[in-house]
Point group: C2
């Protein structure tokens, strides 16, 4: 949690933190500012002291909304540093940054630097800073890790925001189910009243409209993939393709709060009208594994143990898994889930059976998403829910929705 | 243009380019891949050779859609490098990257690195790469600059995509105008049929819904700011605030293609029902300056000359400007415009009167957006259109829309 940040800075041997970039779609900055509309800012937090937000003059009102201590960059006029740097932009930026660091007393030690920005210019600035502030050591990974460690366990307020995104997500999924159920089957395809096939692109447009209406944004797109595409976990589906009856559709939706805040992540697999025997059998295996894993969630359990358990369950059903065959492209080919918050994928992780020490600490929010993929057979199936490891030791799916495979359609 | 990339790599003394991160909402990667659904990839382009895209196994189909030469990261198994690095993740990543660079023959020289990603981990990887590949020099700013230089002039295909975003944008602005005009004035506020005031938040929800419906995304939000907020250029407006009659609303909308592609940028200033004398006078000055500047666009003209011209025009009207008073917070306080493409703000730039050598080269797309701001008087006004400098020397507003100030409402 954010209140643990100083402890994590200490654990990562950091004397301070510099977070760079906009406050939206930039998890580190969003986390520390609350997501005000800042297009570019510099947040400096010395360990053990409050953070200071350096903002553009035009964004003074938005900066004030963060409740942080603020400094106007008008007090650090660009032209001054530009002249001092004789027109070297990276050096000018470094000189300006050095002056900002000095105002908060950060002139030496180990400075963690991160933020989701264009890498090139900031890298050049950091190279220049290293040359003019040799007593500062720039640490990147440690800054990222300290922030991810803080973000890993969620406050009640964060849970409420993720839960609300879960409600929006399942509301949209319900509307999609409704829409599809009100169309009819004809010659193996789903068609509208006018006899034209429903395409994947149409469904995605509806999804985006409904998400926007309900206050969400969909920056990473939606997976709505049928047949062979459903058998490739990250295939997003072919917008021009008509929807066929019987064949499994993997519908994986992962929107965030409008303005770039907390995510939700959710998957169902649907067959329209009926399921082929092959699709039903695949679904039954995934469903059984899903139920098995859900029943095995325990506080502090190692994530990698759950990944191993999932592999064992799938292998007992006769499926190949990446636990035994790394690099596999059919069967169970990904990890069981991932943490979720301001990033759709964040700590804790379920991959890396050998080295991963991540656990289901109370407070984490993770996805549980077993799946099976047979692209050559035109088959894929995944079921995913987002789960909160509650402080009382229980686990809660943050947005309930039926797991059913077959979605009836009109005759 | 992309076909000039090798020339820009040479001009920036780069032997190759490494672009990192997802292919969406990451302009450098979107530019070079076309925006396939890749959540994380490494694109390596040696100067004078075709780029190679290194992708995750699960994203092989999306990678193939780019039409680029591809390599599956399954051939560079993480565990191998992790063991070799004895569990040091940054070193493991650097070893893996070095192996990728070797496959395309990049083992020495100046490597430009960029991409919109979390800075910390990539910085640590680059530090580790420098230690194991001492013949490679890592250059950040040059990589960014070379790509921005290529992106500065647009192909016909890019213009069509921006133009389509302009059509979507003005369609949404028209729907907002329609919606507002169908409400009525009461006691100085705009109210709905049920007598409740229309809030800024409601208008923004409609904007997001309509954008999504029309195939756009709104990752950076919308400015819909009235009164004092309109007087602070980057204030986005208070969602809870009711809309008042007479007082100027700055409506600045800058959506992009769904999936994180090309942007449009557009501003109108509206008074509902009528304009106060002060608002009308401010608008008249901005409108006259807008018309004046639009008539002064010439191919190859220095952008800073247009900025100076804008300041002179405003000063002749009696307004303070940041040309004479840097750091100013009222009057004309920003630059005239900016380039636009995969970033809402990109080259060419209109700021920095002393050093900026950017010009209106044929092929650039820029915004022209003069504005005046008097927050203490509860006033702000800006007019903005996106303009293409055509190869034939003429200039074209990519989406026409009336400039009118007063939006009639029902009595």
């Amino acid at each position: 949690m954010k209140t643990d940040l100083d402890a994590f800075l200490e654990a990562h041997d950091l004397d301070g933190l510099l977070v760079v970039g906009p406050a939206q779609h930039n998890p580190a900055m969003t986390y520390l500012t609350g997501g005000a509309h800042l297009t570019a800012a510099w947040l400096i937090k010395p360990r053990g002291q409050a953070a200071v937000l350096f903002h553009n003059p035009m964004e003074r009102d938005e900066a004030a909304k963060t409740g942080l201590s603020t400094r106007n960059l008008a007090d650090f006029p660009w032209q001054r540093y530009w002249r001092q740097a004789k027109g070297d932009a990276s050096l000018a930026q470094a000189l300006r940054l050095k002056a900002m660091l000095e105002t908060v007393g950060l002139t030496q030690g180990r400075l963690g630097v991160t933020g989701r920005v264009d890498f090139g210019p900031l890298h050049a600035t950091m190279q220049a800073l290293a040359s003019i502030a040799p007593d500062l050591e720039i640490a990147g990974q440690a800054a990222h890790d300290a922030l991810l460690a803080a973000r890993r366990t969620k406050t009640d307020d964060e849970i409420e925001r993720i839960r609300r995104m879960g409600q929006i997500t399942t509301e949209v999924v319900g509307r999609v189910a409704d829409f599809l159920s009100h169309q009819r089957g004809k010659n193996g395809l789903l068609v509208k009243n006018d006899g034209q096939p429903v395409t994947i692109g149409e469904v995605k447009t509806l999804i985006n409209r409904w998400l926007a209406e309900l206050g969400a944004e969909n920056p990473e797109g939606t997976i709505f993939a049928q047949g062979r595409d459903a058998g490739v976990p990250h295939s997003t589906g072919d917008n021009a393709a008509p929807l066929a009856l019987g064949s499994p559709i993997v519908f994986d939706i992962f929107p965030c709060e409008a303005g770039g805040g907390y995510f939700y992540d959710f998957t169902r697999t649907w067959c329209l009208g009926y399921a082929t025997d092959e699709a039903q059998a695949l679904y039954d295996d995934v469903r059984a594994t899903y139920e098995h894993v859900m029943a095995e969630l325990r506080p502090q359990r190692l994530c990698r143990d759950l990944q191993r358990l999932t592999c064992q369950h799938f292998e007992a059903q006769g499926h190949p898994t990446s636990c035994s065959q790394p690099g596999l492209q059919q069967g169970y080919v990904h990890s069981l889930g991932h943490g979720l918050g301001l990033d759709v994928h964040e700590a804790p992780w379920f991959s890396d059976l050998e080295t991963n020490t991540d656990r289901l600490e109370p407070g984490v929010v993770v996805t549980i998403e077993p799946g099976l993929y047979y692209p050559a057979r035109g088959l894929g199936c995944r079921l995913e829910d987002t789960v909160w490891a509650k402080p009382d030791g229980s686990f809660e799916v943050l947005a309930e929705f039926p797991l059913d495979l077959v979605l009836p359609v009109k005759a």
